[in-house]
């Protein structure tokens, strides 16, 4: 039982004066002291560590992670995005817990989260920049990078089902070929790519779109060790293996059948390099299926610029494909959409593909667009 009777009583009392509570928006925790006092020890430690984090500048990343974890102020969105954070917390001997972070950075802004999850190309830009929707923190914030910490898991990929790939090998190769051509062009011309995405129905401002394109370019062209990558969409064996190993360790499934399956998965169960290899040298015939669709993981934004560029520049037409880009967002499950045939291709994180296959789906990664993790923890200096 996580609640003492005292806590409950304090909460009920607090409920009675809810209108009064709403008025005092300034100092955090002032009204909470009654309730927090009742929960005793945990709260005291939390307050102590939270207090010590104010001493700022001299802190190392490891101190910072430990302090935030002890105070329960590490944020993540959950929903399958939390495994790298778990790996990081484990590395520093901390409990695998996080605060559920909303899809804005208000929690970071109001200090209820001191180490907030952010994608380099999205939330980090909003925190730093002062354009529309930004928080304007500029250089007063710094980051802890999952790649440098050795807990990177690969994110945006390109996948389909094994059955679709086997039945339509030329469609798959043609799609990979044209898409990677789109990614290459987008990374070489990020500003133009951002404009193309913006015109295709962007969910964010054109300034943020341009920022995003420049950051996504880095993820496509740099591997987890910081080396340059020139082959767009290449599946790096070591990075893929590290992702799978971390996934096996940190994805906790309640379904024992799925948990068993997860343990037994190998790289060959989740990806095939054959399609990308043939696609990169143009070795494919006319596609079996010409009208295909791709489900994005999120709203239309430069995160997916390669596909928008390939469509706008006519690269899909060149290989005889008619492509529909289906945007995601909210609770749309891209793995489910591809698995049940609503769409033919999808973009997801490798860890999400792994848990889907453990749960019984038969998905196959055919290209790895992001070569390093885009997840960072951002903090105020």
């Amino acid at each position: 039982m996580r609640f003492s009777k005292k806590t409950m009583a304090a909460m009920l009392a607090a409920a009675m004066i809810v209108s009064a509570v709403s008025a005092c928006g300034s100092s955090s925790g002032s009204t909470g002291t009654t309730a927090a006092a009742a929960t005793s020890a945990a709260a005291t430690t939390a307050a102590a560590t939270a207090g010590s984090s104010d001493s700022g500048a001299a802190m190392s990343d490891s101190d910072r992670i430990i302090a935030a974890a002890q105070a329960g102020k590490v944020g993540n969105w959950g929903l399958g995005n939390e495994y790298e954070i778990f790996a990081l917390l484990t590395k520093y001997g901390q409990e695998n817990k996080f605060l559920s972070q909303a899809f804005d950075m208000d929690g970071f802004d109001d200090d209820s989260i001191t180490l907030a999850s952010a994608m380099t190309y999205n939330e980090l830009g909003l925190v730093k920049n002062s354009y529309e929707g930004g928080y304007g923190y500029g250089d007063t914030v710094d980051i802890i990078d999952m790649n440098n910490e050795g807990v990177a898991m690969l994110e945006d990929n390109l996948f389909t089902t094994k059955a679709f790939a086997e039945a339509n090998p030329n469609t798959v190769k043609a799609f990979v070929s044209a898409s990677m051509k789109g990614w290459k062009y987008a990374c070489e011309n990020p500003e133009e790519a951002a404009q193309i995405v913006f015109e295709a129905g962007s969910s964010v401002s054109s300034d943020h779109q341009a920022y995003m394109a420049s950051e996504v370019k880095k993820l496509c062209e740099t591997d987890t060790n910081g080396n340059k990558v020139t082959d767009y969409g290449k599946m790096d064996e070591n990075a893929m293996q590290q992702t799978l190993d971390l996934a096996k360790q940190y994805i906790k499934l309640d379904d024992s059948t799925a948990a068993e399956k997860l343990k037994s998965l190998t790289l060959d169960d989740i990806r095939s390099t054959a399609y990308w290899t043939d696609a990169s040298v143009g070795k494919f015939d006319a596609p079996e299926k010409k009208d295909v669709s791709i489900q994005l993981k999120w709203l239309p934004q430069a995160q997916f610029m390669g596909y928008f560029v390939a469509k706008a520049k006519g690269y899909y037409d060149e290989v005889g494909l008619n492509v529909t880009i289906v945007s995601g967002g909210g609770d749309i499950g891209e793995t489910t959409a591809v698995n049940n045939g609503t769409v033919d291709f999808g973009v997801t994180w490798v860890s999400n593909l792994i848990s889907a296959n453990a749960g019984g789906m038969d998905l196959l990664e055919i290209a790895q667009v992001y070569q390093r993790s885009g997840l960072v923890l951002v903090y105020k200096k």
Partner: protein, 268 residues
């Protein structure tokens, strides 16, 4: 006599046996895959009952932690909301001039979607405590409170004002004061209406507790587990929590029915 016992037996058949047969048929169709064909889905998105039950039995401890978190929010929010709703109804019945107008505003709360209300309240109550668990639970209780307040105030108001014909006049001829009139006439008259309100707000409180968990900072609860598992494509586990949520809702409703039967029997 004979006719009466037959009709009694028939009503027993209708209210117990038929639903049981329907339920058994549905579960059989589900387990044999017939349901999957009818609904045009696969055993992945709609797993077999046996698989769901296996997962529930293997994770009882974890499920109970989440059930307790959700039930706590639903019950506290329901009690608080119903109490506030009733007080609003008394106020409205006592001062009918602004009362009816005020009630319209309160009943408008009913129309606010929980998905819109929950994130707002969660942001709004961030200063309640430095402990995420406490402030999240608080915020979720407030969501349930707002939702259950509306149905109680509207129904209780009717119970307090729609009196049997001439009963009001009768009280006046006895020269009863307002307080006496309230305790002897209006309050007892409103009891059946309270249960009408609870029949709506008990399932409502469970639903709003589950939905508000989606947005809460502290990750716990049956609703949150449903969302987490669906998004990582663990449909069997998600279904285990969906079934759990149904059981929680049914048990709470059954408890209400028992209480209502006891109270109403006493009144007769």
């Amino acid at each position: 006599m004979a006719v009466k016992s037959i009709s009694k037996r028939r009503s027993a058949v209708q209210s117990v046996v038929l639903p049981l047969i329907f339920g058994a048929a549905l579960i059989t169709a589900w387990q044999t895959g017939l349901l999957h064909i009818l609904l045009n889905t696969d055993e992945y998105v709609l797993p077999y009952p046996t698989r769901i039950i296996t997962i529930i039995s293997e994770n009882t401890d974890k499920i109970m932690v989440n059930v307790w978190a959700s039930v706590q929010v639903a019950v506290l929010g329901l009690l608080l909301g119903s109490l506030l709703g009733y007080l609003i109804a008394i106020f409205a019945a006592t001062f009918p001039k602004f009362g009816s107008g005020g009630l319209t505003i309160v009943s408008a709360f009913n129309a606010i979607p929980i998905v819109a209300l929950a994130p707002v309240i969660i942001n709004w109550t961030k200063d309640v405590s430095s402990e995420a668990e406490v402030r999240s639970t608080f915020a979720k209780i407030i969501v349930v409170t707002v939702v259950s307040m509306a149905s109680m105030s509207v129904n209780a108001y009717r119970g307090l004002t729609e009196l049997p014909v001439f009963s009001d006049d009768l009280m006046k001829t006895y020269a009863a004061g307002r307080l006496t009139e309230f305790t002897k006439l209006r309050l007892p008259n409103s009891v059946p209406y309270i249960f009408t309100a609870l029949r709506v707000s008990v399932p409502g409180s469970v639903i709003s507790a589950l939905v508000s968990e989606y947005f809460a900072e502290y990750v716990i609860g049956v609703g949150r587990q449903i969302r987490e598992n669906i998004l990582i494509a663990q449909y069997s586990t998600a279904w285990a929590y969906i079934v759990t949520a149904c059981i929680v809702g049914i048990v709470m409703y059954a408890i209400l029915m028992v209480i209502e039967a006891l109270v109403m029997k006493k009144r007769k």
